[in-house]
């Protein structure tokens, strides 16, 4: 059995846990201001406590020191010895920021090398200010505490004379262990973890690492592998040799967080009577048969029970989930992509065979092909779902930003997040955060008025910003709405004229809705003054190009005095898209269905020209036309198509619509996006390639790029 455990192996585990706990800390601390309930305090306290425990085990002393101070403050809050205030919240949030930085540094292999002395001092001042004395930490790396500073952990070690649970050590080991015991101090430790302990292995590992500080692990049940895979309930046993002081060992082992009880005895064959010299260390919680220390600290039993329930629910959740490396999911996705391509090819060959032959084997083939098609679709669906994350992961960043921004600007803003459980592919999640944040900042900075202005306008002083996500067919629709002052189209026009985006005469003809589109031009900002937050006029154009790169559509509505509404329509995934296949000369192009609005057959005489550009009027809307053949073809005539009829695909490009003339419509199909080889460079108008059912390569059009390059030309 290998007894050497390398810390670096567990860094990832630590980081994962830390990120989760920090997120809890941040969200709950933010919520604390509005709802300082015992329940919430408890959750925050536990998060800080868990962080302290695991960082200590990993030897990150600064991290542990800071969390320890946070824990002290939180404990006083929890016990009502301290009143929650904006100042305290600010400091706690600053701690969370620093801890996040540490996590980042640790992730980069730099250790917890972030200065936190000031914060530690501030937290201590908070307590000193309230006249609360907390014993100084003896030293994070050597947690030998005679009287533990944490009240909740106070009578940490307590001698008991029972043996704990029956040993499961295999008998064939007994002899060897007894032999080892004759040569040195061999101890037998039994641990029982709290029922809702989330990362059981980490706790076991912490115990093992304590042992390895001063001795050698001889045996463990279940095996180290099983421990690593968390294949155990709550109990595990370790037999080890150690030259360390017995009492000290007991203390250290019993201090591992989320360990309900720990029994340490000198080695004795478990089948016999328990040795008289046996000493048992037990965490006090176990004695009361309440696995949650909450119950002791919380004056009211009700919230504690609630917390227990919540924890139980969480345990049930974690029991059925597995963490999977994203790269693996991406790989799976690629493989399924290949499968989808082959499925389409087999189906095509099947069809060809079916038209040429009538044997029953061909019929069988068709049937099997149908079955395979169904299975691959399901498989694809399932893997897509596995890659889905709730948009909450993006939303979670918002409350903090809104709070900080509103405070800085002196505005009163309420943020409402709706539909956080709406799921979408992580590839999309990764990229929508920043655009959303930008729009949100705009809403608060430009949209929501100062409280006195709001009162003057007859509104409540508190502004409302709402972010709502929902599924709509194969898309996700995110709406950011505020009840601020709205965008004045006249001012936008004036700005646009000033910036030379449009002539004064043209501006006069522009409708209000069209005027708003100038917001998306670079260099245009209607903010009277440039603030630190926004107003530099870089932004909305970047937002738009980001959204377009995702194949999304962005729309903006605003009513002066009542507020603005930004609507984003995004595909659920970036890996596979539904596309409309069209023919241009002899080549096939794929138009992402997300940007296709409709398809039409247009008569030649209906095509008019304005300024030598072709347009067609659809239901009263003048829509510019582009001939794909001219843009992308080799200038060949299409003999199949009568010259007086044209297939037109109307596409939505962000806020505008335009028509693309193609030679023929082929149909809808799911296509797997393959990135273009770097060798070809950045091809304007082409976003990628895909492989069709017949094995040929088709290019995927980037509608935005087509238009851009056309305008530039």
């Amino acid at each position: 059995m290998s007894s050497e455990l390398d810390m670096s192996q567990y860094i990832d585990l630590f980081l994962q846990e830390a990120e989760e706990q920090l997120e809890i800390l941040e969200t709950e601390t933010l919520a604390l201001e509005n709802d300082p309930s015992q329940d919430r305090m408890q959750i925050i306290f536990r998060a800080a406590h868990t962080l302290k425990g695991s960082s200590r085990a990993m030897g990150f002393s600064r991290f542990a020191e800071l969390t320890h101070e946070m824990e002290n403050v939180l404990d006083q809050l929890r016990n009502d010895a301290l009143e929650i205030s904006t100042e305290i919240t600010d400091r706690l949030l600053a701690c969370v920021d620093t801890l996040s930085q540490m996590v980042e540094q640790i992730g980069q292999g730099n250790g917890d090398n972030v200065e936190c002395g000031v914060l530690v001092k501030q937290l201590q001042d908070v307590l000193a200010g309230a006249g609360i004395k907390v014993e100084a930490e003896v030293g994070a790396s050597a947690p030998v505490e005679t009287a533990s500073p944490e009240p909740q952990e106070a009578p940490k070690a307590e001698a008991k004379t029972e043996e704990g649970f029956p040993s499961k050590l295999p008998e064939e080991l007994h002899e060897a262990l007894t032999a080892a015991a004759e040569e040195g101090n061999v101890y037998h430790a039994k641990f029982r973890l709290e029922a809702e302990c989330v990362m059981k292995f980490v706790r076991a590992f912490m115990a093992i690492s304590v042992i390895q500080e001063s001795g050698e692990l001889l045996a463990c049940v279940p095996s180290q592998e099983e421990l690593e895979e968390e294949q155990f309930e709550t109990e595990f046993e370790l037999v080890f040799q150690s030259d360390n002081d017995f009492e000290e060992l007991k203390t250290k082992l019993s201090q591992i967080s989320e360990v309900e009880s720990a029994w340490v005895t000198p080695w004795a064959t478990p089948s016999g009577e328990s040795a008289p010299a046996e000493a048992v260390v037990e965490a006090p919680e176990a004695e009361e048969a309440k696995p949650e220390p909450v119950a002791k600290a919380a004056p009211a039993p009700a919230p504690a029970a609630a917390a227990n329930n919540a924890n139980a629910a969480r345990k049930a959740d974690t029991g059925q989930t597995v963490r999977v490396d994203v790269a693996r999911l991406d790989n799976l996705m690629n493989l399924v992509g290949e499968l989808v391509i082959d499925r389409t090819r087999i189906a095509q060959i099947g069809n060809e065979l079916a038209t040429n032959f009538t044997e029953s084997s061909v019929e069988n083939l068709t049937e099997i092909v149908g079955h395979i098609a169904r299975i691959t679709s399901d498989l694809q669906d399932q893997i897509m779902k596995a890659r889905m994350l709730p948009i909450e992961t993006v939303f979670n960043r918002f409350p903090r930003v809104v709070r900080d921004l509103a405070n800085k600007l002196g505005k009163d803003v309420k943020l409402e997040l709706i539909g956080g459980d709406t799921e979408l592919d992580r590839s999309v999640i990764e990229v929508i955060g920043d655009p959303l944040l930008h729009i949100l900042r705009n809403s608060i900075d430009h949209g929501i008025e100062m409280p006195n202005e709001r009162t003057a306008a007859g509104k409540s002083t508190q502004g409302l910003v709402q972010v709502a996500a929902k599924h709509e067919e194969n898309h996700i629709v995110i709406e950011i709405r505020d009840d601020g002052k709205g965008i004045d189209p006249e001012r936008v026009k004036k700005k646009a004229v000033e910036q030379g985006l449009i002539s004064e005469e043209a501006a006069a003809k522009v409708s209000d809705k069209e005027a708003l589109q100038f917001i998306f031009h670079s260099g245009l900002s209607t903010a009277a003054e440039v603030s630190e937050v926004s107003g530099r006029g870089v932004g909305m154009d970047i937002v738009r190009s980001n959204i377009q790169r995702l194949g999304g559509i962005i729309d903006l509505e605003s009513t002066v005095g009542q507020g603005s509404r930004t609507i984003l329509r995004l595909p659920l995934t970036l890996a596979i898209i539904r596309g409309l296949l069209v023919n241009v000369e002899k080549n096939v192009f794929v138009l992402p269905l997300g940007s296709v609005v409709e398809t039409l057959l247009v008569q030649s005489e209906d095509i008019q020209t304005i300024n030598r550009k072709e347009v067609v009027v659809i239901r009263g809307c003048t829509t510019p036309l582009f001939r794909l053949g001219e843009l992308f073809g080799q200038g060949m005539e299409n003999p199949e198509q009568p010259a007086d009829e044209h297939y037109v695909v109307i596409v939505g490009l962000a806020e505008q619509r335009l028509g693309l003339i193609v030679d023929r419509l082929i149909g809808e199909q799911e296509v797997v996006i393959k990135s273009m080889s770097r060798f070809c460079g950045d091809v304007p108008g082409i976003s990628g390639a895909t492989i069709l059912g017949d094995g040929n390569v088709a290019l995927i059009l980037d509608v935005n790029g087509v238009i851009k390059s056309e305008r530039a030309a």
């Binding site: 992509g337 393959k674 273009m676 070809c680 091809v683 082409i686 040929n696 390569v697």
Partner: protein, 153 residues
Amino acid sequence: MSEEILEIQSEEVQEDRQTVVFRLADESYGIDIFRVNEIIRLREITPVPRTDQHIRGLVNLRGKTIPVVDLHVRFGSIEASETENSRIIVVESDNGNVGVIVDAVTEVMTLHGDQIEETPALATDESNEFVKGVAKHGEQLITLLDLDKALAA
């Protein structure tokens, strides 16, 4: 041919080099076998608009798309005429795998350092810049391509 250059050349090519020899128009060319991933038959090429003319387009290589380059165009002559013997040599480049259309792949040849000479001075046309050297194999002259230059944009 100066002695000095010959020396440098032979230093570079101390060991015998396995070279893939192919035909382009009426000439024989060679590329180091270590750069060659595989040789495939000509297949449907999807043209990519708005790219350099020598990039013929994309082909499907077992579910991946790779760009294909026409060296005829690169060397300043007309496009390759495709025949039964035409092949695509898939080579590694700094920008991933790239296919090179050739009229035929003739053989894999072992070239010794002393067989390789500097490019004849009279070859001053455009294609010269892509040439590393010329190998003599019996009566046959094989132009050794500088693949990186030939594939660079």
